[in-house]
């Protein structure tokens, strides 16, 4: 369905081209039809950039994005416009994802007006259907975004996206600005929609609990690189990379009572901050914060290799 190969984005700042931010550096993964890949990592690690690169909202420096075998990076503007309806993006803040000057009905209708050849009545009919799918009522559509709650607006965003009949949805922290109770509703809605319409998700999040519910596979990102990727169960029960272990530990430490698999993760507590992406450490990017650091970590960047079925880790000591 979606294959990402060696995706790379350097942002150069100002006149000094050498001083570039390596936001995304050689990221590769696959997402199958009807599957969800969870992309996790600390803030600033490049998760969001990956999503935007796949959508080609920004242009990658290098790499391939194959969508059903079509290389999106090679498409020209017109071809891109034709294929864009099939992949859609959900953003973090639902309130700013909708035009504040457009009524809800107009926002949901917009994709139908831009694509497809619906008549006015058909569009109105379709809007009502879509609103129903996402669990809103006809009473909501004549309002403006500021008159709805964050959760309701995120439902509107979903309705708008479903109007396009997409195959792939890139969800960039779709619930992190919502209340916990509303979060659950939106996540359930997304899961239901996935089942009904056989959608694929790239689910970007920093919240491991949320990813665990949603994802079939998890990719862990650190400073622009994937350090570990594998099935959700493998990641939660037998994480190999010290960074993944540290993330899991950090998440479980906050809820001492949790008794299932995640409760006895071995690992370390991360110290210090993520190094600046302006000058990424030589060798393994994680070596400064890694307890198992050896000489080889300073000089050689670890290759990613398979430790189990579909479970890849990039570390010298696994």
């Amino acid at each position: 369905m979606l294959e990402v190969e060696g995706l790379t984005k350097y942002f150069s700042s100002g006149l000094n081209k050498k001083r570039s931010v390596k936001a995304v550096d050689g990221v590769s993964f696959n997402i199958g039809k009807g599957k969800t890949l969870g992309l996790v990592g600390e803030s600033g690690c490049g998760k969001t950039t990956v999503g935007r690169l796949i959508m080609r909202l920004i242009e990658p420096t290098a790499g391939k994005v194959l969508f059903d075998g079509i290389d999106l990076i090679a498409l020209n503007r017109k071809e891109l416009r034709n294929i864009r309806p099939r992949m859609q993006m959900i953003f973090q803040d639902p309130d700013s994802s909708l035009d504040p000057r457009m009524k809800i009905s107009a926002s949901i209708e917009e994709p139908l007006r831009l694509h497809g050849t619906y008549s006015r009545d058909e569009r109105e009919q379709k809007v009502l259907e879509l609103v129903k799918i996402v669990g809103l009522g006809p009473e909501h559509i004549e309002r403006y975004p500021y008159q709805l709650s964050g959760g309701q607006n995120q439902r509107v965003v979903l309705a708008r996206i479903m109007a396009m009949n997409p195959d792939l949805i890139i969800a960039d922290e779709p619930t992190s600005s919502l209340d916990v109770s509303v979060q659950a509703q939106i996540l359930n809605l997304m899961k239901d929609m996935q089942k009904t319409f056989n959608l694929s998700y790239l689910f970007i999040s920093h919240d491991l609990d949320v990813v665990r519910i949603m994802a079939d596979h998890i990719a862990v990102m650190y400073l622009g690189r994937l350090v570990e990727i594998g099935e959700t169960n493998d990641i939660f029960n037998s994480a190999k990379h010290p960074y993944t272990q540290a993330l899991l530990l950090a998440a479980t430490r906050l809820q001492p009572g949790v008794g299932d698999g995640a409760g006895h993760v071995k690992g370390i507590i991360l110290k210090g901050d993520t190094p600046s992406p302006f000058d990424i450490p030589t060798g393994c990017r994680f070596h400064m914060r890694c307890p198992h650091q050896k000489d080889v970590c300073l000089s050689q960047e670890p290759e990613s290799f398979e430790v189990g079925v579909g479970h890849y880790v990039a570390c010298h000591f696994v």
Binding site: M55, L57, R81, N82, R84, P85, M87, Q88, M89, F91, Q92, D93, S96, S97, L98, D99, P100, R101, M102, E110, P111, L114, H115, E142, R143, Y144, Y146, Q147, V157, R160, M164
Partner: protein, 287 residues
């Protein structure tokens, strides 16, 4: 508080909560009424000179409520007709400047890069001259008359709209709803007209209202300096200039048009400030 289902009505209601803005709006409506019905309201023909009745003081003769000028023309009639010219100049200049400025500002902000650099350097160059000096130069080059005043003021005025709309576009184009429209496959033209324009209209209305005040004042200044409509056209700035000669003996000839200019400018400033307050997104969020 009851929520209207219409942001426009909402804004009208909030505007009426602000007393200065309400006063400004009422004065402006009154001035528009005067301008439209000047022929019906005027007691005399504003351009008919009657040298026998020259320099009559206000409130002395019922035929000339505000007296007459040095050529015996009715000051009140000239004042009422003068409102027409000031408002028309203001509307034309602000309207055309805003259209040019918004178009260039939106393009500049949306595309960035080379186009942006060219347009903005042009704006900087225009702004580097004192505006009234630039207007005087252009009006001087084009010759006397109302059209040259209008053109001169447009040349000076459009930059404000270009700057404000460019700034708004720069922040808007990064917003998620614009990105989401792009990912729906919308064209640049569609995004600019359907998503960006409606969202920059707020600040532009504020600048436009305050700009009316500035344009009316500048137009009066240019007329005062003799670049504006030529005699016997009734224009407030020109009336001021004509009255200048008689300032010692007949001060009302300068005071009356002066007050008229002040009231009109003040009204637009009051309304503009009120609009700025209610259209300020931060205040909207608090409510």
């Amino acid at each position: 508080m009851k929520k209207h289902n219409n942001p426009f009505m909402d804004n009208i209601r909030r505007l009426s909560d602000s007393r200065p803005a309400t006063v400004g709006a009422i004065i402006i409506m009154l001035l528009c009424f005067i301008a439209v019905f000047a022929p019906q309201l005027s007691p005399n023909n504003p351009t008919t000179a009657c040298l026998e009745d020259r320099l009559i003081s206000p409130l002395t003769v019922p035929e000339y409520p505000l007296g007459t000028d040095h050529l015996g023309r009715c000051v009140l009639s000239r004042l009422l007709y003068g409102a027409r010219i000031s408002l028309i100049v203001g509307i034309i200049v602000v309207g055309i400047s805003a259209m040019i400025g918004i178009a260039l500002g939106v393009i500049s902000g949306y595309y960035g890069g080379g186009i942006d650099a060219v347009i903005m350097r042009f704006v900087d160059a225009t702004l580097s001259f004192p505006s009234i000096f630039l207007a005087v130069t252009i009006a001087g080059l084009l010759g006397r008359g109302l059209p040259s005043v209008i053109i001169a003021l447009i040349v000076v005025d459009w930059t404000a709209y270009a700057r404000i709309s460019r700034g708004s576009v720069l922040s808007l184009k990064e917003t998620e709803f614009v990105e989401s429209a792009r990912s729906l496959g919308a064209s640049d033209c569609y995004i600019m007209t359907r998503h960006i324009l409606p969202n920059i209209i707020g600040p532009v209305i504020v600048i436009g209202t305050l700009g009316m005040a500035y344009v009316i004042l500048s137009a009066a200044a240019l007329s005062f300096l003799g670049f504006g409509p030529q005699p016997p056209t009734p224009e407030w700035g020109a009336m001021l200039n004509a009255g200048r000669m008689y300032m010692r003996t007949e001060p009302y000839l300068t005071i009356i048009p002066g007050i008229a200019i002040m009231v009109m400018v003040l009204a637009f400033n009051l309304l503009g400030d009120g609009l700025r307050d209610i259209l300020d997104p931060k205040k909207t969020v608090i409510e």
